[in-house]
Symmetry: D2
Subunit: 334 residues, 4 copies
């Protein structure tokens, strides 16, 4: 309550709380009175219904707005299974491949290269959310068919992005794992549809969303019944302009403390430049990430999308060697 | 090019450029050489195809990535017409109403109040994008029907949000104007569908998107053929925590210089608290905004959504008086 | 306390609080217990001493860390007097002049122009904090002498920046008002020295500091005994790159609610470009600013520092006309 | 130049450039003309003198504003020597100790603990820049004497912060290495004085400064003749609120590419909470940091300053074991 709030104003807050089924306790300080609201679901109540009352200075949440994604809801770490690959265990899972599926030749070459270097999951975009309407939008259904073909040929599960709520079923019928992109983290129509399916999903962090908002978006998926959710940190927007997005390395320990869901890192989209990818990838593994999502293109100079941030197969192979040593030094493996 | 780039490296950039149909000119400085790429559509070419070449230090765009929304494409300001209300002319257009349509009684009361105080368009949400799956999600189709009823009863056009690409046609059949929300500014599936319709649209700025990205998103709508686009600044995410979003007041003059599209401001979502709404609203009008989008609720204390940022009818009436005087002082009217 | 905190852990927090002279009250919720700490000076206690105890989840301040600058400490607005010019009253005070004092001719021309157009205080930098060591650093003592001369000749008080704690006395001996720049808002050695003097001071907001940090910095000045403090919003650092700094327009109503100190706005440093200055200046007056700090240069094209953001005398004269009308429309004057 | 700039406007830019001793080349595109300015010191010229001319749209720098700190100025990595400890070589140098020197007992205990666990340099603050005037400000001269005593007793060099330009000489007479704190990164009076001395210096990044601004601040030190400069990343201010500052992990590879100066990381101030320190510290070493600056307090629960972010001696000892394994895995040692 504000300094000097009247007894009547305090009473009206107390009444409002009781009408919502909450218990109330007053903390009368030297200058201000604090009204403590106690109950099982305060995290899900909007704060506005109290903040708007006269004499109220501000409302502070003690309970988080997310629930199903929280460590408190499920104290032990979850593991997510993608066609036999376990994410969230001792193994650091590497997902790699081109930003966009461009052609059969390109995808097969990429799939061969990443498999040989030790990646466990193939990534590749069929539907591309592009910021400009004049850019290449992806091969769409043909891209999905090529991904399925690569999976068959190289025996490696595939993850690909879905951007339209209507496409969820289609994409699920080809892919082993869905990806919800950064710009769609709060596309609730999409989240609801993905949550209704049973396909495991990589939920990328919105590039300007807090960790609390991210876990609340994960709650959308979990609330619909899909509990195969992997969180993917991919960089946040800051004032720094030497890199495309600033990778939030501390998101890893923060998530490990707040949530039971596995956490992976995409160093490629954060970096925007291939030369910065290895340092970020190594840092992520050392900080405890359960996996990485890395862009690899057989010929980055000819890539239609994001060539600058893609590793060549030989650079990827070298990085995998380094990552293996680091994983081993912290008691994990790749 | 990097300091010390070889002739061969420079040549390969030149060749790449010519293969894209561009002209080339070399600027040989004391330490670095700059390769200037000249041509009609450089703004739509990805920079990566050059940045990835050996010896290249960085690629700097001179042409903007957006085109149809730019002032250079259309030097005179556009006006958008919403069922007879002209946005972008001398009149500062006020759109007001509740955050969410909650009931017939609530909506009619709100419509009556805002109409009486001089608002030209009624706002009200039927589909609500809520950050938590446990929150009230809107009345949906029933909400649309109530909006249509309010329009009929009070003779005031209505604007409402659309969140799912599949709902565009439905919403268009009830509303005079669509709203694409902040979290959907880069939902390209939604933009494409809205762009295919002919319903005028308010495109809210993504809360962490640059003005360049915003105008590029507007290009999605324009490229599909819908040229009835109004931009709405609603606050950006910054480190400041005394307000929900920091309203970017300078977006108004920046947009007036860069684009021909009308610009309105939503002070309510930026502020998050009704007490901050009037100062921001007055600033926006003084800075040259073509309109405002303000939340008004007949009884903010009982609002299901965002009650704290909603003005009561009497506060809205007072604010309208103040806004009229300011509009007059800069040669416009409300 | 964390969910499941033991009685022993709760007791140790209670003991710690009592050892600091605080009263304690327990709020036992369904999942968590909250320990309320009550006392007169909790705002000045570090939260760490509690946060570090076992079982504590987090510590939330109810009292602000600043005190003397708060509205609660002094409920009525303060006025600051600068050699007869009252800041914080009905008059919107315009401070204008060149970014840097460059020569006698330049300063006198600028002083004449701004005085004629109705500015009440002349600004001009003698000591310049430049981000690069290779840039012009200001005329220093000679600049101060020129400012004093301009004051005498045109009968207008002068405000100028001080950057080194050692120079406070020197600058005070020439200027009517000191300015502490954005990069020095948390230069506590400087604040302490300025606080020990009695010269009125403009405290610019650090470009990445919250309003709470800003008012806490003001407390440094007030705690040393200098109560002639004016706050100056000059833009904050965000991701937006179309402008140098994003002016935080909502800082004006937030400060009016939280503090008794007068608030002015510097549109020039935020804008970085003269064409954006008028819209921001007009917005600031409409939002309730008590004054403006505007850069005016007799010949912006020849300015040694920040020419791009400086208005020419004729542009300044036009702007003043517009500002007068807006001030009048909200019941103030210039 | 703007689209449609006149020949006269272009000519006036060309003349201005020639008057500054620059060569000029015109790049005439389909829609715009770009004037390339060529010369040895364009990085040090203000862009405003061109941007302000009529017909100019914007000025883009190709050369960076910093020079002496750049990799181009000095292609090989620099090493900095602190009383026999080499920073920037194969060894990852650990600096550890309490945030503030509080008493002889506390400092000696901390020194003993960090030395035993393998730290090479003792840190401890004697002058504390505190955001609130009501907080503990450090033991000042007595603190310096205690640091000197700890150095003698344990044979370990000491690093400590200097906050006032006047104190540089005093602090140098006790310490082996100076620290310029985050809030003083652009305190140019302080940088100039520290640059005039020959004491090695840790220059912390301003929490809202770009890497370009940071290296330009380093140029202040280097331009005055002090070439013993170590850069320290300590977290930047972002919208994320689960941590005090977001550690910019990519600053490490970006700096390694742009500068020859050694780079260390302070995980403690970024984290704000001891539980997050180990993950960030491990990430920094894996990403290639040349050292770490870690807060260790013999009894964090009793610390006067920043107890929450301090490791206990036993936690520090465990972390050192982990860091050694990671350092080894990337071919370095601790």
């Amino acid at each position: 309550m504000k300094t000097g709030a009247s007894q009547e104003e305090i009473d009206s807050v107390v009444q409002k709380a009781r009408s919502q089924g909450l218990d109330v306790q007053l903390n009368v300080g030297t200058e201000k009175t604090v009204v403590a609201l106690l109950g099982g679901n305060t995290g899900q109540l909007p704060t506005d219904i109290f903040a708007v009352l006269p004499g109220v200075e501000s409302v502070t949440r003690i309970m988080k707005p997310y629930k199903l994604a929280s460590r408190e809801f499920r104290p032990m770490p979850s593991q997510v299974s993608c066609s036999g690959v376990e994410i969230g265990g001792e193994c650091v899972v590497i997902m790699a491949g081109p930003c966009a599926v461009e052609s059969e030749e390109q995808l097969m070459e990429a799939a061969k290269a990443v498999k040989e270097s030790g990646a466990s999951i193939l990534r590749g975009g069929a539907f591309k959310p592009r910021t400009s309407p004049f850019s290449f939008q992806g091969l769409q259904k043909i891209g999905l068919e090529l991904l399925a073909k690569a999976r068959e040929q190289f025996g490696i599960p595939v993850v690909t992005e879905v951007v339209d709520p209507q496409d969820v079923e289609l994409v699920c019928s080809y892919a082993d794992m869905l990806q919800v992109g950064s710009r769609n983290m709060q596309n609730f129509a999409l989240l609801t549809n993905v949550g209704k399916g049973r396909c495991p999903v990589v939920l990328k962090r919105g590039f300007a969303c807090t960790i609390t908002e991210w876990l609340t978006a994960a709650d959308y998926l979990l609330a619909e019944g899909n509990d195969q959710v992997v969180l993917c940190e991919r960089g946040i927007r800051t004032f720094e302009d030497s890199i495309r997005f600033s990778l939030d390395i501390s998101a890893i320990p923060v998530l490990k403390r707040s949530s039971h869901l596995p956490v992976i890192v995409d160093p490629s989209h954060a970096a925007g430049h291939y030369s910065l990818v290895p340092a970020i990838a190594k840092a992520a593994v050392a900080a405890g990430a359960d996996g990485l999502l890395i862009e690899v293109h057989p010929n980055p100079k000819e890539a239609l999308v994001d060539g600058l941030q893609s590793l060549s197969p030989s650079n990827f192979a070298s990085l995998m060697e380094e990552l293996r040593t680091i994983a081993k030094s912290i008691g994990r493996y790749i």
